[in-house]
Amino acid sequence: MNNIVNYIKEKTGDAPDITYKIFPINNEEITLVYSNSTSDQDNINDFILRRLDEDKNNIKTKDIYNYIKNYIPNNNIKEITKEESLYYILAGFTIIIFKNNKLLALENKAKVHSDISNSEIEKSIKGPSDAFTENYQTNTGMIRRRIKSEDLWIKENIVGTKSKTKVGIFYINGYAKEDMVKNIEDKINKIDIEYVGNSNYILEAISNANRFILPTHFTTQRPDYATLMLMQGRIIILVENSNEVIILPCTFFDFFKNPEDYYGKGLNVTLNRLIRIAAYILTVFTPAIYISLMAYNWESLPSSLLINFSVQRDGVPFSSVFEIIVMNMFFQILRESDLKSPGKGGSSVSIVGALVLGQAAVEAGIVSPITIIIVGISAISSLCFSSIELINSTRYFQILLIILAWQFGFAGVFFGALIILGTLVSQSSLGVPYFSPFEPFNLKEQEDVLLSKKQVKFHPLNIFKRSER
């Protein structure tokens, strides 16, 4: 018995938050070992110590080990080995060491996580507003509650040599491609990682498209959306201590969808999606098109607009390329500071600040007003999307197009558009073409992407079918 205690003390460096409690019972002594920080003290007092205290003189059987194993009210009692004991102590279990060096682990996890609250990132106007928390068990529950079928299968692994984080792969048996699930599981098993900070760690480890600018996965905080994605045959990765779940595979047009879309009226949703697609195109192309109009392709402007632009640019010392790049950078800084500044009420203040600064810059004659409008259009359009990854990736495209427009005018913009389209079309995510269902062309799938049809809602289309050309 003592050698196990010594073993634990040695391995943990005699951690101050681990308590060793010697409890005499039936002429025998057992030792309870638990961590003060990860286990629930009340639970230990109420259900283990009190019960043992009440019963210690009345136990008829001599076999305390079996008594505890069978009669202590605890839902998760495990026989463990000496080596495993470390993990269980730190995971919030109470370890009981018996005289004959047998070990039992009883679960008494403390609630060190936030309660179920609304999602901050994906705001909900319609539909359920609960969001994933940092607790793995709660998250699993939120999905299980929505799909009560036995077909919801979960594969669990423990990742991280130091963090020992639980990673669960959720999928619906029969819907998700079995070899893809296996593929992901193998990858997760092979991860050589010490500490898993967030779900993104796992993502980076299993994703093979790190060089691709656009994200090949997407994350959600909303269990209703995650469930819907499961129904489409997608695979969900749940990571302990992370309130985002990873959804795989993912196509480009998934970023134009919103959980809300599935609760709204189909016709309105179609319009919303078209607006989002237009917003994306505006974000990427507006600055470049403006530059080519200002420097090369004057004939494409009506003459009254041309003279208007010319008047606005009168007396501005910098070229329009410089203006656009500087103002765009200014906006990026503003966005970054807005996101990172403490206190989330800063957004309106900073927008007003930007306007005032923009106006002041125009009046001082440093930038032309039209530049502010162009940067504004591009910036506002980029705020249409909830995926930070997508917005961040558009900046590369913007810069690429701006440089091409600066050197070659419209011809350059079209060339850049071709490059972008090429990168989109050539990628795939878990075998699903990234630009599907438009490339390869699949009219029926497009009903789910552009329109939101009733049939598609009632019987979700399987994402893996898209890969069949």
Partner: protein, 401 residues
Amino acid sequence: MKKIIKCVTLLLLVLSLTGCFGYKEINESAIVSAISIDVNKKDNNKYDVGVQIMNAKKKENSNISEIVFYKATGNTIYEALEKITLDSPKELYLGHNEIVIIGDELLKIKDPLNYLDYFFRDPRVEKDSLILIAKDNKAYDVLKILTPLETIPSHNLKATLFTSSEVSGVTNITTLDEFISYLMTTGEEVVLPSVIIKGSEEKGENIENLSDSDPNTKITFSDLGVFKNNILIGYLNDEESFGYNLVANEAKSTYIYFKCDENNYGNVKVHSSKTEEKLLFKNNKPSVEITNNIVADLIEYNCKNDLINDSNATKEIENKVAKRSKKMINEILDKLYKEYKTDALKYGSKYYKNKYKEMKELNLTTKDIKNNITFKVKTKVTIRSSSLTLKSINKEYNYEK
């Protein structure tokens, strides 16, 4: 990876072939909105070229005129334009040129094909600009008149031309490329609208001209100029211009007045006018059957006839209008083919395109067609409605008495 680099390099090289080099900001160029071409009789018949530049200065003081003028003389149009660049701080940009005004004197002595080549050759010049004749004045003077309704005079001219050709049917729109193609084609002659200055020229150049509610000086559209062998030989008055537009199918929406009793007139508004031509040969001579169909609404009727009770009244109006349109058409045909002997209605080229075989058999040239052509004119007018009332207000007034 190597393949990708190769591809991208190749595509970048292709891009360099587009010739899209030369990054240049808008405000580094002077946007020309109108060009005038005159002959300089004192200086060896060189060309006086004037440009109207849209002033791209920020308007802190609204009294600054929106346009600036430059003028230079040269042996060719391009030489003159290059000389203007010496005066102007910015390079001229002709891609948004709206109007080319050519002086009456120049058109009367020289074929435009001898000096318009630059406009046709340079890709940076707008081919869609309108061509006008400055009838009584120098083209440059017309250019310089500031106009009240639109800040930029060339906009004003363009807008007026479009409205008047649509509403009155007496002017005719010809763009630069059309003009040059008419000049180049045998068997076609051009008809161009002309402008004149009403009032004093000097006052029109001042900004004060804009502050008057009734400006002293205005530019108005005048008669259509007729060309023969690419030389301007005369003008058509309003009535003749209208006749020309009727035959040429260019009269879209216009009005025709008619006399309904001794002192009073009525008016019909043309809803649609369609002219059909049959190109025939009679006695080995070209003969054209022109059938003009007008559908019109009665828009003004100042006589005492009752249109309800008198069933013949409408018919009578129709006949009167038809007669008038026939007269107008006959007059213009006479004027063009007998007096001026010019093929402004382009029958030479029409015969050449449609009746080439017969022309070959009869051994006729387009010139023969122009000289020997005869016409047979039929007109028909249908009055569709009489608008709000069937009676004349004159008649109702009489009832009350």
